[in-house]
């Protein structure tokens, strides 16, 4: 098939790409420093950004150029490590995946810590209760049958059953978007159930009944009220509520009849 040569532009010569224009935005950060006061307070920062900058870039500029005491977590800065989940304009998002151009810059952009976990300083929360729930669902391969002499094979169809829940980066955006978790920190939360789903529906794993028994407890999957905040908040696009519902149905009808 022949490829058409690029059409000459109307002006004759190719136009250079326009220079990106920096502009000022106001970032309103909910701050907290237990060494100074036990009260939270809002602080406004004005930063110069490009439309393609991320909120993480704006936070860096604040920390590096205006106020070094601003405290937040970030590691990879590219949506994989799950360190910088925070509440941006009232919704849980990763600061490194939220672009300035996708937000209304006419109004201040609010940034605050994720909800339901204890704030240690500014945007940093105590992740331990979240990780404890994750450990409880045994997020590792469990087998009882004799070990095979070669790798454990799995066909594409069986792999597809839990593909969605392998994407979790444990950023806690889902768990801290859940109204049930806000009022009950004992609830396992969406992230733990998603990671249980990843093994329960894995044909190579034999710990499914064990995990279902753990999630069948009072603080387990039945706490879910399907508000779908978790699905909306997940920066990896995991259908979190769907995974939780499949776990509930696995408890009622068995793993094979859950989907």
């Amino acid at each position: 098939m022949a490829v058409d040569p690029p059409a000459p532009s109307a002006a004759g010569a190719p136009q250079p790409a326009p220079e990106p224009v920096a502009f000022d935005i106001t970032v309103k950060v909910r701050r907290f420093d237990p060494d100074v006061s036990d009260q939270h307070y809002w602080q406004d920062f004005t930063v110069s950004v490009f439309a393609t900058d991320r909120i993480l870039d704006a936070l860096h500029k604040i920390k590096w150029e205006q106020d070094g005491s601003l405290t937040f977590r970030r590691s990879c800065g590219h949506g994989i490590c799950g360190s910088d989940a925070m509440r941006i304009n009232g919704k849980n998002r990763l600061a490194c995946k939220t672009l300035v151009k996708d937000l209304n810059t006419k109004k201040p952009i609010t940034v605050e810590a994720i909800k339901g976990l204890t704030v240690k300083k500014d945007l940093v929360v105590d992740m331990e209760p979240f990780m404890a729930a994750y450990r409880k669902i045994k997020p590792f391969l469990i087998t009882h049958s004799p070990e095979p002499t070669r790798e454990r094979l799995q066909d594409a169809e069986d792999r597809a059953r839990f593909d969605d829940t392998t994407k979790c980066i444990l950023c806690a955006a889902c768990t801290t978007s859940c109204p049930v978790f806000w009022t009950d920190e004992q609830y396992f939360g969406p992230a733990a159930i998603v990671n249980a789903h990843r093994f329960i529906f894995d044909s190579r794993d034999e710990g499914g009944p064990e995990r279902l028994q753990i999630l069948n407890q009072a603080e387990g999957a039945w706490r879910c009220r399907t508000t779908f905040n978790c699905t909306d908040a997940c920066p990896r696009g995991i259908q979190v509520t769907e995974a939780i519902q499949q776990v509930k149905r696995a408890m009622m009808f068995g793993i094979d009849d859950a989907t």
């Binding site: 307070y41 809002w42 509440r87 009232g90 399907t226 699905t231 259908q239 519902q245 149905r249």
Partner: protein
Amino acid sequence: MASVGTLYRGDISMWSWVAQRITGVAVLFFLYVHVLDTALVRVSPAAYDDVIASYKTPLVNFMEVGLVGAVLFHALNGLRVIAVDFWGKGTRYQKQMLWTIVAVWVLIMVPATYFMTLHTIQALFGSTP
């Protein structure tokens, strides 16, 4: 200065869950009152008649409309929640189902409000020819 966090801007079904809770509690409180006033008929039929007569006011009439609205929303959204729980594709279509039940709610509530409040409106603002 002390501050509170912003309101969490959750998914639309967070608000349907909030509405489900509020309508559920409202209907429960109505049932308490309803059981009490109906039980009165066993105690004293005259007292029962007095209580029922006291309900014939515009305020109670508008509360009745609210009750129908609350029961209808709770019932329709309850069907949606059952679908989300037991239908494999329920979570994928939850938003469409929500807009459907809201549309059905409006379609029923508009004529229901008209016929339920017809007498009150006539009594308050004079009868139409």
